[in-house]
């Protein structure tokens, strides 16, 4: 019995030592170490999911390219996945828009040419879809590589704050990656995405009847009529996946119209726009300025041409979430395009006179929206 009591004492002593040890370890940062370990494990787990997403996006894109008889599909895609565009120098802002436009156009042309060479038997629509799929795959690999880089470099430099920050950002990063991954399937299907609201509005205003002609790279225009006004419509050339060059095209259309002696009294841009959380998808709003979400070169074209000829620049937006903008179009957004058409007509009636010319640009990706 005495022996048993001695063992009990030893057990209690051991337990006390363990508690004191844990207390001392916590005092010297063991708790932080455990927390960082947990964060790292969580990030690694999500990193594996990101890697799966990027690889499955690559495989889906390859599958689509091979279905369209692409030559060296794997090599072509791997080359484009790592393709980058360097921002122009901005500490010297002179002419930055032209330099930025040059770089963006160069990048677009490079992608286009690559798929023309790789998929000679495919049509323009298939090539543009493959190009968009390659861009999405590239974005997913970039997200994966970036997260991996932050994790490894912060681990290497023992920067616990960076790991904490990354861990807190991971849900948002995963959400964005998920949206891209889902959007890829929708683009490959060839259905319109939420961002296609602008081109659909332009198409509806043309009454589906008018002849469209290409006025700029991947951008088309058509003439229509509404209550005695001449309507000039601009949109990206569909049904392939492209946003075209609406700014450049609109400037050309306005200059051509003015050269004919017409009075351009109104310029309206229609685009999809991000809603605030809590707002209803598919609701519309109007304002002034150019409704277009490009990095700058196209938007500034609208502003410059409107300012140069003193044309009122109006904007109509169809509201949606970020995920809804790049994923297959929701019914609420499609219904929103009807409301946008009505609002555009209302603006035309209120702010122009019969005999005037009104230019309307339907901005957005025209995947699944023809003319």
């Amino acid at each position: 019995m005495v022996g048993i009591a001695a063992v009990e004492n030893w057990v209690y002593l051991l337990i006390n030592i363990v508690w004191v040890l844990i207390f001392v370890l916590y005092l010297f940062g063991f708790g932080n170490y455990l927390q960082v370990y947990w964060w790292k494990a969580d990030i690694k787990n999500k990193l594996a999911v990101l890697n799966d997403m990027a690889n499955s996006a690559r495989n889906k894109t390859l599958e689509f390219m091979n279905k369209n008889k692409a030559k060296d599909a794997s090599k072509t895609l791997d080359r484009l996945i790592d393709f980058f565009a360097i921002d122009p120098v901005n500490i010297e802002p002179t002419d930055i828009i032209n330099r930025l436009r040059h770089i963006i156009n160069l990048r677009d042309t490079k992608f286009k040419q690559t798929f023309e060479i790789s998929m000679p038997e495919a049509n323009d629509v298939a090539r543009s879809i493959a190009s968009t799929a390659a861009e999405i795959s590239s974005a997913l690999f970039l997200i994966y590589k970036y997260v991996q880089h932050i994790l490894l470099s912060s681990d290497k430099t023992k920067n616990w704050y960076m790991i904490m920050y990354l861990s807190l950002m991971m849900p948002q990063i995963m959400q964005i990656a998920n949206i891209y991954r889902k959007a890829l399937d929708d683009f490959l299907e060839g259905v319109p995405v939420g961002d296609g609201a602008g081109p659909i509005v332009a198409l509806k205003l043309s009454n589906y009847k008018k002849e469209w002609r290409e006025i700029d790279e991947d951008t088309v225009m058509a003439e229509s009529e509404y209550n005695g006004r001449k309507i000039l419509l601009v949109k990206a050339k569909g049904p392939g996946s492209t946003v075209g060059r609406p700014g450049e095209a609109t400037a050309k259309v306005i200059k051509e119209s003015l050269a004919k002696g017409e009075k351009v009294s109104l310029l309206i841009t229609v685009d999809a726009a991000l809603k605030f959380e809590g707002e209803e998808t598919g609701t519309i709003a109007e304002g002034v300025g150019a409704a277009i979400g490009d990095p700058g070169p196209e938007k500034i074209m609208f502003e410059r041409i409107a300012a140069e000829y003193n044309i009122p620049l109006r904007a109509v937006i169809v509201k949606m979430g970020m995920d809804e903008a790049i994923m297959a179009m929701d019914k609420k957004i499609l219904d929103g395009t009807d409301k946008a058409v009505e609002r555009v007509k209302q603006i035309i009636e209120e702010e122009s006179r019969p005999g005037d010319t009104v230019v309307i640009a339907g901005i957005g990706n025209t995947a699944g929206v023809g003319q």
Partner: protein, 101 residues
């Protein structure tokens, strides 16, 4: 004898319980990840909206459909059927609380 057994038993029971809870949590976590991955594979149903002289009808989306596609005459009056919309029917998100079900 019973004193040692009780102490050891309680500590082992607590340890086992902690391990069990961790395993259950990790399993749920993994299941949740897998559920999310499976959800991602689910494709929404696409619907094509057609217009024939103002009469709107819907049908299942077919490969090659696009908004603005003229599908040909739809009646004897020379009217044409055209596609005026394509949209996705998405499943509503599950309510909170049924996360693991």
């Amino acid at each position: 004898m019973s004193g040692i057994f009780n102490t050891s038993f309680y500590y082992q029971a607590i340890l086992l319980l902690v391990v069990l809870i961790i395993v259950i949590l990790l399993t749920f976590r993994q299941a949740n990840e897998l559920r999310k991955m499976a959800e991602m594979q689910k494709r929404p149903k696409f619907v094509t909206v057609e217009d024939c002289n103002g009469m709107i009808t819907t049908r299942d989306f077919r490969q090659g459909d696009f908004v603005g596609l003229i599908e040909g005459p739809c009646d004897n009056n020379g009217n044409i059927r055209k596609i005026v919309g394509i949209y996705a029917i998405k499943e509503e998100k599950q309510k909170k609380g049924s996360r693991f079900l």
